[in-house]
């Protein structure tokens, strides 16, 4: 699963933390129990009793961020191979075992992590523990399976290549990151997908899949202490792995706007503007989240449970209400290293990229000069974030994901737990400061997808003669 613009974080586990911490005390009151096993596995456990279900997640601190040219896409391919079986659970057996008790399972690879989960009727969740502890160290990586999966992975990439926005994002990322491995897409470059070998995959697996490089998260309708004991039993006997190689390739400061153009078949043009964003732990993260909410709606905050409509947002009004665009979206996610704050615009038929970019610039200029984010917008962002957190509390799967992501990307699950508090401390001045710092032209990359369809009959049919003129204030 390639999740554009949804990467994550990787600090080493805080080994100096107390052996077991529970934010809310000893009782199973919904607080998170955190511990680090002798094997180095970080464990987070939260009891939730609204429904008889439970989820179990394992996050590995490895994603496309840990890849170098020649093996791009190897983290994602390794994720696929983890479904191919072990001596104890041969291929197909796992799938059948989960499904026949009504469970769901899946996995995802991002820039900063690879994560696996099972969501099950609560009484069956131990199967998830068994499967994950087993495949953490015993996956087979059979040569024939590697061969057959190569075509599946290539097919996945080709399916993505059918989407103009994938092609555009790939070029924008490559332009935005010259040095840092956020440069390439999670699925990897085709050249590498054709040449990565079984040994490459197995070496990657052995290097990165170990309890000392992983976070286990259990959330659901169980006794918290008993769950922790069962996780200890399942994972306690495993050996810590090698120390992961640190990522040294810091992206240098960007000194000037970068632009890319992708041409392709189609009738629709797209604009993708990507600005350098802070990492999850940098001070600017929360003010930029508030700014994202004002510009693009709550989906831009990288929130659990968010993602409603954005028709009252500034950029919707500036671009969609003015009939320049059919839609606008984007935002950012918590990441280990500074990644991107993106604005994606789908142009309306008959509109041209330069006029849409000019309108986008005019709106951003307005934000930076005459119309900064207001106290009312700040209050709205907080109320919307509160609602999103309430919705997210209805799903154990969602909770498991965000606790694990927070631990991995920000170094502690408390990043997620204190998200609303962090947001509440943001002032309008903070937002103005981060807007000026992160939305500057010299630190952004602008990509255009230019459709080459010769069939332009619709353009003449849709002359926007009755449109209000776009009047940049700057």
């Amino acid at each position: 699963m390639d999740k554009p613009f949804a990467p994550l974080r990787t600090p080493s586990p805080p080994r100096n933390a107390p052996q077991v911490t529970a934010a809310g005390g000893d009782a199973d009151d919904g607080s998170v129990l955190r511990t680090v096993l002798d094997s180095g596995l970080t464990v987070l456990v939260r009891g939730m009793h609204h429904a008889p279900v439970a989820t179990f997640w394992v996050f590995y601190r490895v994603g496309s961020r840990n890849e170098v040219p020649g093996i791009t896409g190897i983290s994602h391919w390794t994720e696929h191979m983890m479904f191919k079986g072990t001596p104890a659970f041969p291929g197909g057996v796992l799938d059948r075992a989960i499904s026949r008790v009504g469970g769901q399972w899946n996995a995802m690879t991002s820039t900063d992590y690879t994560a696996y989960y099972e969501t099950m009727p609560a009484g069956e969740i131990d199967l998830g523990l068994q499967i994950e502890s087993d495949r953490m160290v015993n996956s087979l990586f059979d040569s024939d399976e590697v061969s057959s999966e190569r075509t599946v992975i290539i097919s996945e990439r080709q399916g993505s290549e059918n989407q103009p926005l994938f092609l555009l994002e790939e070029e924008v990322r490559a332009a935005a990151f010259r040095v840092h491995p956020y440069h390439h897409m999670i699925v990897g470059d085709m050249a590498d997908l054709q040449t990565i070998s079984r040994d490459d995959l197995y070496t990657h697996y052995r290097h990165h899949y170990a309890p000392s490089n992983a976070i286990a998260v259990a959330v659901g309708d169980f006794d918290r202490d008993s769950m922790l004991a069962r996780i200890r039993e399942s994972f306690g006997g495993l050996q810590p792995g090698p120390e992961p190689r640190p990522i040294h390739r810091v992206e240098p400061e960007q000194k000037g706007e970068r632009r890319v153009i992708v041409e392709g078949e189609g009738q629709t043009a797209y604009l993708l503007m990507a600005c350098r964003a802070p990492s999850a732990t940098q001070a600017d993260f929360f003010p930029l989240s508030v700014l994202g909410s004002a510009l693009l709606g709550d989906g831009a905050m990288g929130l659990p449970g968010g993602g409603g409509s954005n028709k009252s947002s500034r950029l919707y009004k500036a671009l969609v209400e003015t009939e320049l665009a059919a839609s606008v979206g984007g935002g950012m996610s918590p990441t280990i290293d500074p990644f991107l704050f993106a604005v994606t615009v789908t142009l309306r038929a008959g509109r041209e990229l330069p006029e849409v970019e000019a309108a986008l610039d005019a709106e951003l200029d307005r934000l930076l000069t005459t119309s900064p984010v207001t106290e009312a917008e700040l209050a709205r962002a907080i109320k919307r974030a509160k609602a999103a957190f309430v919705y997210s509390s209805e799903s154990v799967t969602n909770q498991g994901f965000w606790l694990g992501l927070s631990e991995l990307a920000a170094g502690s699950y408390t990043w997620f737990e204190s998200y609303l508090d962090s947001l509440t401390t943001v002032t309008a001045d903070d937002v103005a400061r981060v807007a000026a710092a992160h939305l500057r032209r010299p630190v952004r990359t602008v990509g255009w997808y230019v459709p080459t369809d010769s069939e332009k009959r619709l353009d003449s049919a849709l002359q926007p003669s009755d449109l209000p003129p776009v009047q940049p204030e700057m």
Binding site: A51, F83, D95, I153
Partner: protein, 436 residues
Amino acid sequence: MVRSSSEAASIPGPHDIERQLLSSGVVVLMRENHASPSVVIDGSLHMGAVDTPAAKAGLARFTASALLRGAGRRSFAQIFEEIESVGASLSFSAGQHVTEFGGHCLAEDVDLLLDILRDALCAPTFPAEQVEKLRGQIITGLQVRAHDTRYVAGREFGKLAYPTEHPYSRSADGTVDTVSALVREDIADFWRQHCGPRGMIVSVVGDVEASEMIGKLEDRLGLGSLPADFAEQSPQEGLPPATALTAIQEHHVHVPGKTQADIALGSAGPPRAAEDYQHARLANTILGVFGLMGRLGDNVRDRQGLAYYSYSELRGGLGPGPWLVRAGVNPANVSQAIDSIRDEIRRLQTEPVPADELADNKSFLVGSLPVHLETNHGVSATILNMELYGLGLDYLQRYPEIIEEVSADQVQAAAQRYLDPEAHALAVAGPQIENE
């Protein structure tokens, strides 16, 4: 299957679903859940693409989208300013037979959501400039999808699987030509004729008091508060027959600039009300759902490595929705993938499903209920469907037995009745294939 008492108690049923009829005939379903301070409101009404003639294809979907473009005293901007300010959501979407709506909010904001919902249903204003803005967005969406191989394969499949006069042969989205030709009066007339209380269902799940909620809904959707033209509602006409195909109906669509081909293969399936619907559903689960996409996933994806995805879906619904297989493959592998899909259909028709495989699939269908019913959204969608298809409030209590009773012979018979490896619709969209 053994389930814990807490698991059994969590399954919605007559003991905790409140069903009420408003004075207008609207059916209301409620289930309280005070675990978190949020509310989900879903619903459906009999207004869909089947109510539009071919020349006005897309009208139902256009109308549904236009309901929130201005309603009652609120403008489009005010509606979304108010909804989004409190982190709520509300949307309408038209399918073939029904328009569905769905929203959620914090419990403290439920009156706001009900007010806007009421106005959108009963007093939409369809401002001319908003209709034009929406039209532009719909047309851009159609142009985007015209280059989306998966969408194009599905659209072409519909044309091949159903007779031209059948509404299922047309996409509910309409075409650029039909959407361009619609005028505001078409939308207003369509709403007047088809939007109304008859057949309307509203489900409310979450942190509400059922007795209080019924009063709020009666105030807004009861007979006393409905505008006169809202109650005048044309009945939905019956569908022409979806005659069975007697040969393979095949169409390859060249979508330039693409690297992967998408395949849609299948036929008209049973309506939800068909006696053998659950037999077909179990057959479909075995074919392309169970685990990571059933026998198709195992064969086409895992063993042969031909596709990133390969699965089957049984749409069901109020009419004979499609039963089809979908796969995304490299152009060089299209023929092999199609052969393998046909092999799996043939195997389902000619060989009884082994007892252990049948048991696993039944266990999956029953066992996955707690996970599906975890959230307010999951419960709301489920009880809404129970009402729409007349399954009864105790359906989920009877469900394990319904599934358990399905035999291998019935699974095989359903596959034989609805699928045919020698006679089906086959649409492929993607790059030009060399041997064509």
